[in-house]
């Protein structure tokens, strides 16, 4: 790697730079101000998030990445209103979030589909809660199921679907509610590598066709760079914003860009942010076992 000459991750082609300036002009969909979260534990107060502030523009796809235990999940749960911060506030479309609601969609790592409802009924859930008639909810649900390519399975129950299909239903279900922001908490973490790859492309495809702002939590570097407009890198203990990186890889993205210099440069930079040089593996002792020579001639 080190022998390879990489451009700086700050270098943006004119098209990409123009894209970012357009993005910055868009209204703010999600604004986070001075978010702090402390937990009382028997061993004292633990600060999970410390003064986190950032904003996400409309129709932006932002990834939040950080080492494990940096409070990514706590952050997204606060953003979605599932937990209350110790201090600070979250504004969605200009209004403060006080609890979970249809404005903030959420896709969980564990699918969380309702097992007693068919695919179609799962997607109808949000519209029905909003008081729409079965007819309207059903015709809307059909469109969303079509969008994620599961029309053939609309009457199947969740236990009959594979992991990737379940997560597509979960995405359709969240989108059917037409939230202002869609939070995704490591949605592809439980999928195998091949499926995850497909799902990432799927997500970009959906995002291209739907007017939606996405905040995507991940611990996978490639996933973050591949999907995002911007990447928010969190520090661990306490969780602080380390840097917000603008990804210089042009859109539309494809898997062939994984080896673009701009992609690799961004990936390398974020890797260094997360694992500062000289600090790697400091606290993971490696045990060497004395084994006899393998029986290979």
């Amino acid at each position: 790697m080190s022998t390879l000459e990489l451009p700086s991750y700050l270098d943006q082609t004119p098209e990409v730079a123009a894209r970012f300036s357009r993005l910055r002009e868009r209204p703010v969909a999600l604004e986070v101000r001075g978010l702090t979260k402390r937990f009382e534990t028997p061993r004292g107060v633990v600060t999970a998030l410390d003064d986190v502030s950032f904003s996400v523009h409309k129709r932006e796809l932002m990834c939040v990445i950080g080492p494990s235990g940096c409070g990514k999940s706590t952050l997204v749960r606060i953003l979605a209103g599932l937990e209350t911060p110790t201090s600070g506030e979250v504004l969605v479309g200009g209004t403060a979030v006080s609890g979970p609601g249809p404005d903030c969609g959420m896709v969980f790592q564990g699918y969380t589909l309702f097992p007693w409802l068919s695919v179609k009924e799962n997607v109808m859930f949000g519209p029905k809660m909003a008081g729409k008639s079965s007819f309207t909810a059903e015709s809307e649900a059909r469109e969303w199921i079509d969008l994620v390519g599961l029309s053939r399975f609309e009457n199947a129950y969740p236990h009959q679907l594979s992991g990737g299909m379940k997560q597509r239903v979960a995405i359709a279900r969240a989108l059917a509610n037409q939230p202002r922001v869609l939070f995704m908490d490591e949605p592809f973490g439980a999928l195998d590598a091949q499926t995850r790859c497909n799902m990432q492309s799927y997500l970009l495809e959906i995002w291209k066709n739907v007017d939606i702002t996405i905040v995507f939590i991940t611990h996978d570097l490639d996933e973050a760079v591949y999907l995002s407009d911007r990447i928010l890198v969190l520090d661990a203990n306490p969780g602080r914003v380390r840097e917000i990186v603008e990804v210089p890889v042009p859109r539309p993205r494809s898997e062939s860009q994984l080896f673009d210099p701009s992609f690799m440069a961004t990936r390398k930079h974020i890797d260094e942010l997360m694992h500062p040089p000289g600090q790697e593996q400091k606290d993971t002792p490696v045990m060497r076992l004395a084994v006899s020579n393998p029986d290979v001639v």
Binding site: F114, G126, T136, E138, P158, A174
Partner: protein, 467 residues
Amino acid sequence: MPRPGILRDWFLIRRDLPQSRALLLTAVSFLMPLALWCVVSYVPWIWHPDVRIEISAEREGVTTVFTAGDHVSKGFFPEFVRAVRDENAAVTKARSEGTAVTGARRKNQKILRQIAPVAVGNGWIDYRDTQNDAALYQTWRDLATGAKVSSEPRLTEENLGIIRANWAALSALSPEFVFRKLPDEPLLKLVPQGRPANPVYLPEPDDVLRTGFRDFTASAPEGELTMLQRYGASLRVIFLGFFWACLIGIPLGILCGVFDFFSKLIEPFVDFFRYMPAPTFSTLLVAVLLAGEAPKVALVFIGTVFQMVLVISKTTRLLDPSLLEAAQTLGAKPRQLLKSVVIPGILPNLYNDLRILLGWAWTWLVIAELIGVKSGLTEFIETQGRFRNFDRVFPVIILIGVTGFVMDQVLSWLHGLLFPWSGKSSALSRSIAAAFTWPFRTGARAIRNRLAAVEAARIAATREPSP
């Protein structure tokens, strides 16, 4: 060394057997105890410490009277037989010496009735007709002339001889039964007959089957219930008690599981109360609700409802909380959460809880039926058990067991049918469910389509004026 075939095929650690073998073992698990019962009952040299009397005799000057069906110990029976033979010998001797006593008509009537168990055993007369002297008189005649041969029990040559001798004396006076025309001199007594038997508390399977069939098909004596009516009464007590428990227990349990408020308010007391055994309230319940069905239902209720609240609240708490969070992010309000997530989410587990609790309710039944005025199947068990008629008790006990077991199996099978989404139902039960619900589903779909058409027309109508 490779494991032998039988170990490889049948004994696998934590591995399911193929279905055919599993089914075979299930059958064996029922046949095994049954076979054991048969072996102990029908193989004479295994146990059989008693003799069951088939033909009995009253002895002179002995107050203990044995009747057919009674058990006496193996050691005592020969003594009994010898005593009766001695009495017969004395009668014959007196007759030949011409010193026979007279005025023995009453005793002779009793001797005539000795034949009754034989007549009943062969099905010649009904078991309630054992004092029908006219019919018994015919039986003596038929046996003596050889018109009828007893197979159940088989009569000994000795007894056949006695029958012929007695009939000679009887027929000389009258071909029909007339009390005044009975011989005045004593007749010979039938010598007791019996066969090896187990103690009275272990009746033979065929005996149990026969008495069970007889009891359940018989019409009841005046003022009493038939067995089926008793069975109905027992089921009524169970189901009413369980129904009331469900009516109170399910909503309370769900509330406790959902709201910590109710959990803290109700559960501590419920937890305390369930340790007080339900039967201890029996006299209180009778005092409050009076004798009759009500205190029995209340006992089943008390025995079930407290467990139910705790079990259901636990089941409710076990619902994956992330489903609730997901529903909230989809805009569900608290009331909608309860109705659209909590209740459908816990239903399959709730159903299984109720299945187990219904099993509990059965255990309270026996106690419930003993309080106040005894009733139902338990009254029958109590009464017959007191008379040591265990061949009549066993069918009832088995009936209760079979009812509980079959009900549980049916309910467990219905689980897959009611909750196809839990992924536990077999293809067979799913297809039966599909066939069964087809008319309802078709109807519902027709209504839905109708409503959809109405709404589509309405939407079209509102759109038309705009362009």
